[in-house]
Amino acid sequence: MAKRIDVTNLNIYYSKFHAVSDVNFTIAPRSVTAFIGPSGCGKSTVLRTLNRMHEVIAGARVEGKVALDGEDIYANGVDPVDVRRTIGMVFQRPNPFPTMSIYDNVVAGLKLRGGRMSKSQLDGVVENSLRAANLWEEVRNRLNKPGAGLSGGQQQRLCIARAIAVEPAVLLMDEPCSALDPISTLAIEDLIQELKEKYTIVIVTHNMQQAARVSDHTAFFNLSGIGKPGQLVEIDETEKIFSNPSDKRTEDYISGRFG
């Protein structure tokens, strides 16, 4: 179910602004890859191009190739809606649908896609997804309460449950813990370790300890200057990036001597 991602010569533009230049990497299935780097270096932008979410912003466009198990997601005739059904996403701020209960939030993807499922099937999906997101025990008795009534950490796990309820092949996480307290962060990090058994996970984080804790591979993005496009400096095994990076800039950044 989990799939490999190949990115080749990826260039991203916002109208005329060249945001990210010439990125190449491969992400193995059933692994966690962390994107780190200073603000504005394009790591979130690259993440969003992996499921064509950048297209929501007017004027954003992409050159190059992003392939999912060899299949180009930017090929002619590929519908971004289908891409996003295969590649799920969790956002920086928890964003459960405020008009829906916990239950409806989890099955929102299935229901809104228009698939017909019986009540018992949906019940099963809700329980499995919430269990997978380590939220089941906390909410099993109030599934019909609004999702917005949960704590921030619970809301974020609800959003993860919502994302995996539609059984994606890849899960993209855009700074999923930056709005959470340390305990909720720990819960999410543990969860990422469990999810990687089934999914390919890409996570953007500003927290280098977090990257070191959760990821198998780490990609370091950087800017060569203000107004210049962001670029991928290096991608390697997390252990190597944090102990013996091959690029001087990576070393400067992770040791805090950046700039």
């Binding site: 499921n51 979410m53 996003r84 956002f91």
Partner: protein
């Protein structure tokens, strides 16, 4: 302050009295402005309730029409006006709300180019159109060209032009308040855009949209100019807005006004002119009607929140 032991700069600061004075002055001015703004509202309510309650509570006021009664005959009510107003406003609402919602959705979710800018401009212009101009427009089209006869439906069409921009504007604002993150969350689940708008954006903005619709209704319910141009008053109840004269509460009020100063002779006793109490009663009825609509809208909003 609490720093008593040492004469600190906090307590000794010069101009402190002045600052406090300014602060209090501002507070007083703001409160005063609020009270002044309240005066006409309270005064109006006091007058209308005080003068209208007698007529309103008369037996049959809300269950009968005036029929053949003149201003000197006791009894009767304004039910012909209530029915006319309700029907005309209902027809307007049924047509205006879908159009306005679609326009607002287009402007917020889809429109980017010149068409969106043109639409926004048109809505702005329409917002400022005087009701009598809207009425004349309908008159010019349907009466002059197609030989239409006076009826409630033409009033509804004129009100349409007044209601649509109000609902478009408020709905637009409400849709803009829906956080983009919710749209993105929906897209990221592989939900197409139209379904995101229909199932995520509109339900999230539902309460605000209902408020906008009620504001629109309140805006048109008391309109008089279209009634004077496109309809004629009758004292009989007409359930059919498409044919025949149809009364409406503002027309009832206006008809009473024309009888206010009527003098009449009556042999062998004193007579009463019922026009004033009917007029104020009808005015109070109109206010209560709009208030009820407001209340219903709030209840819908509340209900929606609980159902979350």
């Amino acid at each position: 302050m609490t720093a008593v032991s040492a004469p600190s700069t906090l307590t000794a600061s010069r101009g402190r009295g002045m600052r406090k004075f300014k602060n209090n002055l501002a507070a007083v001015l703001v409160t005063l402005a609020f009270l002044i703004a309240l005066v006409p509202l309270v005064w109006l309510l006091y007058t209308v309730i005080g003068k209208g309650i007698r007529g309103l509570t008369r037996n049959g006021f809300l269950t009968q029409d005036l029929g053949v009664r003149t201003f000197q005959d006791a009894g009767g009510g304004v039910v012909h006006g209530i029915i006319g107003t309700l029907e005309q406003v209902a027809v307007t609402t049924v047509i205006a709300v879908p159009i306005a919602l679609l326009v607002a959705v287009y402007l917020v979710e889809y429109g980017h180019g010149w068409l969106a800018r043109a639409t926004t401009f048109m809505v702005d212009v329409l917002t400022g159109i005087p009701s009598i101009v809207a009425a004349l427009f309908i008159y010019a089209i349907f009466f002059v060209h197609f030989g239409a006869q006076f009826a409630g439906i033409w009033v509804s069409l004129a009100l349409l032009m007044l209601m649509i921009p109000v609902v478009v504007r408020t709905t637009e604002e409400m849709l803009k308040l829906v956080p983009n993150e919710l749209r993105e969350a929906s897209y990221a689940l592989g939900v197409p855009k139209w379904k995101t708008v229909l199932r995520i954006v509109l339900p999230t903005a539902f309460t605000g949209i209902v408020t906008g619709v009620v504001l629109g209704i309140a805006r048109v319910a008391g309109e008089t100019a279209p009634l004077l141009i496109l309809d004629k008053y009758t004292t009989h109840t007409n359930w059919n807005p498409f044919t025949g004269y149809q009364a409406a509460l503002p027309l009832v009020i206006k008809d009473q006004v024309s009888n206010l100063g009527s003098s009449f002779s009556f042999t062998g006793g004193t007579a009463t002119n019922f026009a004033p109490e009917r007029m104020w009663g009808a005015a109070l009825t109109l206010i209560i009607l709009v208030m009820l609509l407001n209340l219903i809208a709030r209840l819908i909003g509340r209900f929606n929140k609980i159902a979350d």
